[in-house]
């Protein structure tokens, strides 16, 4: 197959497969959307998913090897502390990320 044609085919197949994962629940459960279990899931799944995405972001942090997760711990503490204090998402995220970049770029914890 021609290289460009192959590339276009891969992009289209990938787009279709990704769309399918996002659309399938809406196609399958359109009639049962008011089912109590699904309504319940609509409330409790977002907090669970958010917790797991946070955990997933931190999965490569090694506590055994230097810097022992200290930059992540410190930056996360800053994010949480600032957010509990000011409840300004941009401030919490911006300051926490700035602190993290400073810590890793300057090798503060080795």
């Amino acid at each position: 197959m021609d290289a460009t044609l192959y590339l276009i085919a891969v992009i289209l197949v990938m787009a279709g497969a990704t769309l399918l994962t996002r659309a399938l629940p809406f196609l399958l459960f359109a009639r049962g959307a008011k089912h109590p279990t699904l309504l319940y899931l609509g409330r409790v799944l977002p907090p669970a998913v958010m917790t797991l995405l946070l955990l997933y972001c931190l999965k490569d942090v090694s506590l055994a090897a230097a810097p022992h997760g200290l930059p992540e711990a410190l930056a996360l503490a800053a994010v949480v502390g600032l957010h509990l204090w000011r409840r300004n998402a941009l401030l919490s995220i911006g300051a926490g990320t700035g602190l993290y970049m400073f810590l890793v770029q300057n090798g503060v914890f080795g």
């Binding site: 192959y6 990704t18 319940y40 998913v49 917790t51 797991l52 946070l54 509990l84 990320t97 970049m101």
Partner: protein
């Protein structure tokens, strides 16, 4: 910044995603550039696929000349965590036509997080807000993909640590989710499932398996007990 327009409110909510998606998109664009295809195919991929992990995977699959069936199956499995996102949004997208199609199409991890974790200010219609958030997130992603592929090695600035933006975003949204639900159970179930999946499975499967496990536990719990968290 005005809080009354859907665009301004969505821009404010999606700024952290800008700082997360642009460097990530550039990283993808740089990898894609190494394949030797014209830059605009990276743009096309960001427009049509709009999935971070899958696009990184695509670089490997393209380099290995993987078969189309393999591409389809691998992409579906990699993104199957999105199946659970839709399950919890069935009653949310109360529109039809292209609007609903686009909201479903654009349901990335970060879009899902913003749509469930933030709310539009008073007077801003939910659907316009949702559409703007999804559209802006995709704009950041497509811009990153394009920049990386277009500029290639010319964009070598020190962004080490910038990826923490998304970690911080999820941390803030966890706090906001707790404020809205005031229920500890979903967080505890997620932590338990997450650590179990990390210990038992390879890291790349951790997210899908822990989301599936959490969903199963929460569904079982919801069936045995008519328990409803206070939602604001």
């Amino acid at each position: 910044m005005s809080h009354s327009s859907p665009a301004a409110a969505a821009l404010r909510a999606s700024l952290p995603v800008l700082f997360g998606y642009v460097p990530l998109g550039i990283a993808f664009g740089l990898l894609f550039d190494g394949l030797g295809h014209p830059w605009y195919f990276a743009t096309l991929m960001g427009l049509l696929v709009f999935a971070g992990a899958a696009q990184f995977l695509a670089v490997g699959l393209l380099a290995a000349h993987a078969g189309l069936l393999e591409v389809a199956v691998t992409t579906f499995l990699l993104n199957s965590r999105h199946l659970f996102f839709g399950l919890s949004l069935l009653t949310r997208f109360r529109v039809g036509g292209w609007r609903k199609f686009y909201l479903v199409f654009g349901l990335t991890d970060e879009t899902y997080s913003l749509l469930t974790g933030t709310r539009p200010p008073e007077g801003v219609p939910q659907v316009s807000y949702d559409l703007w958030v999804t559209g802006l997130n995709q704009l950041w992603w497509v811009s990153g993909c394009t920049l990386g592929a277009l500029l290639g090695r010319a964009v070598a600035f020190d962004t080490a640590g910038l990826e923490f933006t998304l970690t911080a975003l999820f941390a803030v949204l966890v706090l906001e989710q707790y404020r809205a639900t005031r229920a500890l159970l979903p967080f505890l179930v997620a932590l338990g499932s997450g650590f179990l999946a990390l210990v038992l499975f390879r890291q790349e499967h951790m997210l899908l398996l822990s989301i599936a496990l959490s969903t199963a536990i929460l569904v079982a719990h919801g069936k045995t007990r008519q328990w409803t968290p206070r939602s604001t």
